[in-house]
């Protein structure tokens, strides 16, 4: 891409007028997407992007400049602009920066790169899923199928002399359906994705996804409105981890903690959840949607224990927040693209599996609600109140799975809910999504075993999406 001598020159330029740390992040990305709607291939998009972001930290200040002019002059000019904004009066002369390639986890071997798969084949999979969902019957009124992939080359260099090269491939396949009967409309969806090439489809069948999404929409036509009130809630593993993402994930991101915007601030070392609950953020899992070799500051991806048997033991840090707490980054510095500065973000966030038999958890629940699939959610980290939608839910009656229910949202308070988890299954299920924070969306996965919460409020209104302390995850 760009040779290391020029990179060093740019970093030297950036720090000429002062500053503690300079970094350049360069990205080249090729992406494609195919969408089928109204029973036809409606949109195909193909894009090429490249750009660079230069960041300087000076005292508590951050200056960030981005450009897609990657010529020598363009980059030097961007470094000057950033340097000017970060200038200090007592700039000291520094030794020239020398860059050395940083070792990290082994490169990932991609078996089918997006650019090696022809549009014909991508379209074939999309159409197959579209047909499969429509063949489920006349009640299926709308089917949307989409697939998106990208291949990114990332280069990061910083004034600590680190040079990181990374090659990243991601893809995602999604099916969403609308079913209607006598004016009642219900929806269903399925998505799958990961840090992977098209070999993803060796394990996942678009037709199966379409069947699941379509059958769910049809099944929910028979659902009754969810009961309102406080009741025991069992979340099955296949429901994925929206709950952990909202109930504690965001509140454990160090920037929110340091700004005083997290209900988990000043709680390090204390019991914040039931002893049955351990929460981990793990970027090192192979092929998951939030996995990465290096984060977007060049720190190797890590497995970080956040809550250990109910005790708060760690927050998620990027470089800047780690330095404020005099700790090392946990490899959670992520950004949506070169247009954004990195901030602490989740990767794959998991409630660790326990020992209970998942079916036994349901059998031992007299009355309550079983959540089989969660939708999106959001949290107000300042007070810990969160809400998320239920895509697929059932009544539990005398330990048996009963009638399906629809239209339910669950509301709760993070610390209270985590404290009231009384059963933890030995299974584990994942979901993928795009997590939004400070105007940046990043791909994440989350997971949990089958768990039971003693009491949770079913019903209630979602919070205001415009408020600053609210972070949302989208599942579609």
């Amino acid at each position: 891409m760009i040779d290391r001598i020029l990179l060093a020159e740019i970093l030297d330029e950036a720090l000429k007028k002062g500053g503690d740390f300079a970094e350049i992040y360069i990205e080249e990305k090729v992406s494609t997407s195919v969408y089928c709607e109204e029973d036809r291939i409606e949109k195909i998009n193909s894009g090429r992007e490249k750009g660079a972001g230069i960041r300087i930290l000076a005292g508590g200040r951050t200056s960030y400049v981005y450009t897609n002019d990657l010529s020598r002059n363009g980059l030097l000019k961007a470094a000057q602009v950033a340097g000017h904004a970060a200038r200090s009066h007592q700039a000291e002369a520094r030794a020239p920066i020398e860059l050395n390639l940083k070792a990290g986890p082994d490169p990932i071997h991609w078996r089918r790169l997006p650019e090696d798969v022809l549009f014909d084949e991508k379209i074939e999979h999309v159409l197959a899923a579209n047909r499969a969902a429509r063949e489920l019957g006349e009640e299926i009124k709308q089917v949307t199928v989409g697939v998106g992939d990208h291949h990114k080359s990332v280069l990061i260099a910083n004034s600590d002399g680190e040079l990181i090269e990374d090659d990243r491939v991601r893809m995602r396949f999604l099916v969403s359906t609308v079913a209607e009967r006598h004016g009642v409309i219900q929806t269903g969806y399925e998505s799958a994705g990961g840090v992977t090439g098209w070999e993803l489809l060796d394990d996942i069948s678009p037709v199966d996804m379409a069947h699941k999404a379509g059958k769910l929409a049809i099944k929910m036509l028979d659902a009754q409105p969810a009961p309102l009130g406080r009741m025991p809630v069992v979340m099955s593993a296949e429901a994925g981890g929206t709950m952990v993402h909202e109930a504690c994930g965001h509140g454990l991101e160090a920037d929110l903690v340091q700004k005083g915007l997290s209900v988990y601030r000043n709680k390090m070392g204390t019991q914040v959840a039931s002893p049955l609950v351990s929460v981990i953020d793990d970027a090192t899992l192979q092929g998951k949607y939030g996995s990465m070799r290096f984060d977007d500051e060049g720190t190797p991806g890590q497995k970080t224990i956040l809550i250990d048997q109910g005790q708060l033991v760690g927050y998620m840090y990027d470089r800047l927040t780690a330095s404020k707490d005099q700790l090392a980054s946990t490899g959670n510095g992520r950004r949506e693209s070169y247009q954004h500065k990195p901030i602490p973000r989740m990767t794959n966030t998991i409630i660790a599996a326990g020992e209970d038999d998942p079916e036994g958890i349901i059998r031992s629940t007299n009355q309550g609600l079983l959540v089989k699939k969660m939708g999106g959610g959001q949290v107000n980290t300042t007070n810990g109140d969160f809400v998320f939608e239920i895509q697929e839910g059932y009544l539990i009656e005398n330990g048996e799975i009963g009638a399906p229910v629809r239209g339910a949202t669950l509301t709760g308070n993070g610390p209270q809910v985590l404290a009231s988890i009384d059963r933890v299954g030995r299974d584990l299920g994942y979901a993928i999504g795009t997590c939004g924070k400070d105007g940046q969306g990043v791909p994440v996965a989350d997971a949990q075993p089958t768990i039971r919460i003693k009491e949770l409020t079913v019903g209630g209104t979602a919070h205001d999406e415009d408020k600053p302390a609210i972070y949302r995850i989208r599942r579609k």
Partner: protein, 450 residues
């Protein structure tokens, strides 16, 4: 410098258009050059300063009624060739659609004041000071202001070029600026947030003091809010709340939603859809509006489109594609959020026209009611069925005056009924981004509380 950027964009655009034309397709080049500045301050110090410069190209091609699209921000000769190849080859995979077409030109465009040179001439230090002023004004407003979550200044300058095989040639530059504050007020263990923002086309219209004071005011007036009794009560919506509902209405007048049977306004053209005090306009030429620009993202001239006149639905918003489908002409509402995507129907300056009453006059004969300052979970409202049930906060109205603060209540209903129930509109038209509304008085609305 401005001349040279325009020349560079034109040269690049023409080159890509020529390449596409040689392959025998109808093509449209959309080129955008964008500069952005954002400054965030904390305790008078700059916390984050961000400057951005970006240029990108989106190429739309149509071949045998099939649509192809590709984009790039890489302007190397190879990348430009690839983008043309990609867009053209994509045409062989998309389904044919007889209504796909590009607008024909040349067109003449309205001359609008959408570029304020003082924004780019103002120094960084002066802009930082604007953000500081907003933050200071918030703190100084009241001792109960405990945290300023964020306070900042932003501006953006963009140059847009559209060329197509059918003779469209459009170029213009625009800019705007804004300040915002998110504040927290605390008293006796209760903490409430308040925010305010102002986006203006001209720097001299920006009033950081007013923004800071309003954010503080909004946080403080919510302190110690409690629930309120359930029932049907007269309501007044603040302009901000009214613009949130306009978001829902914007989806209902979108011709694409009409054509796909996703709008309650389908088949209602010429009929009464709301109270006679309601008049709704989309105006891409509105003086000072941040949605104003000489042309839309397809190069169709911007215009003023009356959508609802005294309660009667008189028009929908169209881009070129939806206009073809309805055998009519585009209203200049083909919009795109960036060069990375295709145009689709979108609003410009979308506003409810103001009346003549002051807020006091709207309120003074309400013995008991609800003054709504905030709605929560608006994204759960369903624009297809018109149903909404959203969280709300505000103040009670007692004997024609504002009294105690309220939170944790819901308001529910159907948008069609809501439009019927508007019995008066205020004179206080105010814009939040591209949507503007005055205060609205609603005869009665279902309030869910204790």
């Amino acid at each position: 410098m401005k001349g040279s950027l325009q020349e560079r964009l034109t040269r690049l655009g023409q080159e890509v258009l020529d390449q596409a034309n040689r392959l025998g397709v109808d093509a449209e080049v959309f080129l955008l050059h964008n500069r952005e500045l954002s400054i965030e301050v904390s305790d008078g110090q700059v916390e984050t300063l961000k400057e951005a410069e970006e240029m990108g190209l989106g190429l739309r091609v149509i071949k045998d009624n099939r649509l192809g699209f590709a984009f790039t921000s890489d302007f190397s000769p190879q990348a430009l060739q690839d983008v043309v190849q990609d867009a053209v080859s994509i045409c062989s995979f998309t389904s044919p659609d007889q209504f796909q077409a590009l607008p024909s030109g040349p067109k003449s465009y309205p001359s609008l004041q959408v570029f304020d040179p003082t924004i780019s001439q103002t120094t960084m230090e002066e802009k930082i000071e604007l953000a500081r002023q907003a933050e200071r004004a918030t703190r100084q407003y009241d001792r109960r202001i405990s945290v300023i979550e964020r306070a900042g200044y932003e501006d953006s300058e963009f140059h847009s070029l559209i060329l197509n095989s059918r003779g469209i040639k459009a170029y213009a530059q625009g800019n705007f600026c804004g300040t915002y504050v998110f504040a927290v007020a605390e008293e006796e263990g209760d903490a409430q947030t308040g925010f305010s923002m102002s986006i203006k086309q001209s720097l001299t219209d920006l009033d950081p003091l007013a923004v800071g004071q309003e954010a503080a005011h909004n946080a403080i007036r919510s302190l110690h809010a409690r629930s309120a009794p359930s029932g049907r009560v007269p309501c007044i919506m603040e302009p901000y709340v009214a613009t949130r509902f306009l978001g829902m209405i914007a989806q209902m007048v979108d011709a694409e939603a009409i054509q796909r049977n996703k709008s309650l306004f389908r088949g209602r053209l010429g009929q009464r859809v709301g109270s006679p005090v309601l008049s709704l306009v989309d105006d891409g030429t509105y003086p000072g509006g941040i949605g104003s620009f000489p042309f839309d993202s397809e190069g169709v001239p911007s215009q003023r489109t009356q959508l609802i006149r005294e309660g009667q639905l008189v028009a929908y918003l169209y881009d070129t594609y939806t206009a073809n489908r309805d055998k009519t002409t585009s209203t200049g509402n083909g919009r795109r959020s960036s060069f990375r995507g295709l145009p689709s129907v979108g609003s410009t300056n979308f506003m409810l026209e103001p009346g003549t009453l002051t807020l006091e006059e709207l309120m003074n004969d309400i013995p008991y009611g609800f003054y709504i300052t905030e709605v929560m979970g608006m994204h759960t409202a369903n624009p297809i069925s018109g149903e909404f049930s959203v969280g709300a906060a505000g103040l009670l109205i007692e004997k024609g005056r504002l009294s105690t603060p309220v939170r944790g209540v819901t308001i529910a209903g159907n948008i069609i009924q809501l439009l019927e129930q508007v019995e008066a509109v205020g004179s206080d038209l105010r814009f939040f981004g591209g949507r503007g509304a005055p205060s609205l008085r609603i005869r009665s609305l279902s309030l869910g509380g204790d």
